[in-house]
């Protein structure tokens, strides 16, 4: 690896720019998407096609007073929005965008990213608790119970992929899926076992559902639930405190989409094996992000107990079954071919 001082600095700037642009413009995409699903136009006044809307929102949020209400836990209240943002940006260090665009190749990058994702949830918990507000508190407890419930099937699916690949390095996982969509983990027909290929789409679905729940997106946005909890943990936040929470949320979506792409959709690989590169990676994550937006504006919010039922009664048994089957297929060579 190049040890020049410029490389980390360039990656730092690049990641910050990528994160900032995504956090700003996903808000625009979301509003446009919401608009068109409901047959409206969405933002259109600020700049052509409303493209300067994120800038206007940013100026508005930054010029507002950062109000700290009475009775809150001063330090934690100020730490929470920052904590919402840090893990999402940090995760990007370990994400391989293409074979040669990766800030740092870490052997346990899968583990690192999921550990950081759990810290992101701490931001919701801390923010909710420090706000000294009953809605925020309910939101925080909901978020934690939801996260515990959905991290289990998600991690089991990751273990499945890790078992198939034999590596916890995201770069290796992506590298192993090169050469066309028949090698991707979502439907690895070119793999050793056909039976394995048949259960992997289910694994992908479970992982995708969990990543929606993990990022607190509708229909699983129980923590925010504006119709019942105002804005949940963000109720007491104004100005850039709120802005950071929102940016963190969008960055979590980006990281979720990146992970799904790497673990199941072949990373930077082209579906037909032509011209692999970072553009395929970006195309895939934006298609996934569009699906996130599409899902958000299609389904109403679930109830908290139905959400937990889905996880404990459906997703966890299914994911355990997939894990067991995968283990059998790997151990018993030539099983069911």
């Amino acid at each position: 690896m190049d040890t020049s001082i410029w490389q980390p600095i360039l990656y730092l700037i690049g990641i910050m720019a990528f994160a900032g642009l995504n956090a700003a413009y996903l808000g625009w995409c979301e509003r446009k998407g919401a608009g068109h699903v409901q047959r409206r136009i969405g933002p259109k006044e600020v700049g052509p096609y409303g493209l300067l809307q994120p800038l206007a929102d940013g100026i508005k949020l930054m010029t507002k007073q950062l109000l700290v209400p009475q009775g809150v836990d001063g330090i934690l209240f100020r730490v929470a929005p920052i904590l919402a943002m840090i893990p999402a940006i940090t995760s990007m260090v370990a994400i391989p965008f293409s074979p040669n665009i990766q800030a740092r190749s870490i052997d346990l990058s899968v583990l690192l990213i999921f550990a950081l994702a759990s810290i992101g949830m701490m931001a919701v918990l801390i923010g909710g608790w420090a706000s000294n507000n009953k809605y925020a508190m309910i939101s925080a407890t909901r978020a934690v119970s939801q996260n515990i419930a959905y991290e289990i099937p998600m991690l089991i699916m990751v273990i499945t992929v890790v078992m198939m690949t034999g590596s916890m390095n995201l770069e290796d996982i992506a590298a192993k899926q090169q050469g066309g969509f028949w090698n991707w983990n979502i439907f690895p027909v070119a793999g050793e076992s056909v039976a394995q290929a048949l259960i992997m789409p289910v694994a992908f679905l479970i992982f995708f559902i969990c990543s929606i729940a993990e990022t607190n997106r509708a229909p699983f946005d129980m923590a925010e639930a504006e119709s019942e909890l105002i804005a949940g943990h963000m109720t007491e936040y104004g100005s850039m405190g709120f802005g950071l929470f929102m940016m963190g949320e969008y960055l979590n979506i980006v990281v979720g989409a990146c992970l799904t792409t790497i673990l199941f959709l072949g990373g930077w690989d082209c579906p037909l094996g032509l011209l692999p590169g970072v553009w395929w990676f970006l195309l895939k994550i934006y298609i996934l992000i569009f699906t996130f937006i599409w899902i958000r504006w299609t389904y109403p919010r679930t109830q908290i107990y139905k959400l937990l039922n889905l996880s404990w009664k459906v997703l966890i048994p299914f994911s355990l079954g997939i894990l067991l089957l995968t283990a059998i297929f790997i151990k018993v060579e030539g099983f069911l071919i």
Binding site: G35, H36, R39, R40, I41, W294
Partner: protein, 146 residues
């Protein structure tokens, strides 16, 4: 157990149906009106405040200052005046003021008019910061229009 599987497969199917619907709606043309940029025309039967009807040939108001509308108005929002110029047969309208602040758009004035002189306008862009903004001089409005 049967219910459990029904829940999963039935639920998955209904989710797919929902996604299909929103995907189709996504590509359909928008239905909202871009109000300040495109001001839509009101329908024919819209009841705006009243306006004077100009004579098709001369462009002058059809009104003969009989005062029926003034008497028909339950809220007394119409006040008009006219004079008879030298040598003319009919009275000529010199002033027609509608106090829209008390008008309830009942339409009695339009019904009572026998000379086809007043009608409902399609004007709905009414906003003002002052009560006096809604005292309309309809004669002046007619002149401005023509």
């Amino acid at each position: 157990m049967n219910e459990y599987w029904n829940d999963i497969f039935g639920g998955a199917k209904s989710l797919a149906v929902g996604l299909n619907i929103t995907a189709r709606e996504f590509f359909k043309p928008v239905v909202t009106e871009q109000y300040p940029h495109f001001v839509p025309r009101m329908t024919k039967r819209f009841r705006g405040h009243i306006e004077l009807i100009p004579n098709e040939k001369t462009g002058a108001p059809n009104c003969v200052v009989c005062g029926m509308c003034q008497r028909a108005c339950p809220s007394g929002c119409i006040s008009l005046a006219g004079e008879k110029p030298e040598g003319a047969k009919k009275k000529v309208l010199t002033r027609y003021v509608l106090d829209f602040t008390t008008c309830s758009l009942c339409g009695s004035c339009v019904e009572s008019c026998k000379f086809n002189a007043i009608r409902f306008s399609r004007d709905y862009n009414l906003a003002g910061t002052n009560k006096d903004d809604f005292v309309f001089d309809l004669l002046k409005r007619l002149e401005d229009k023509s």
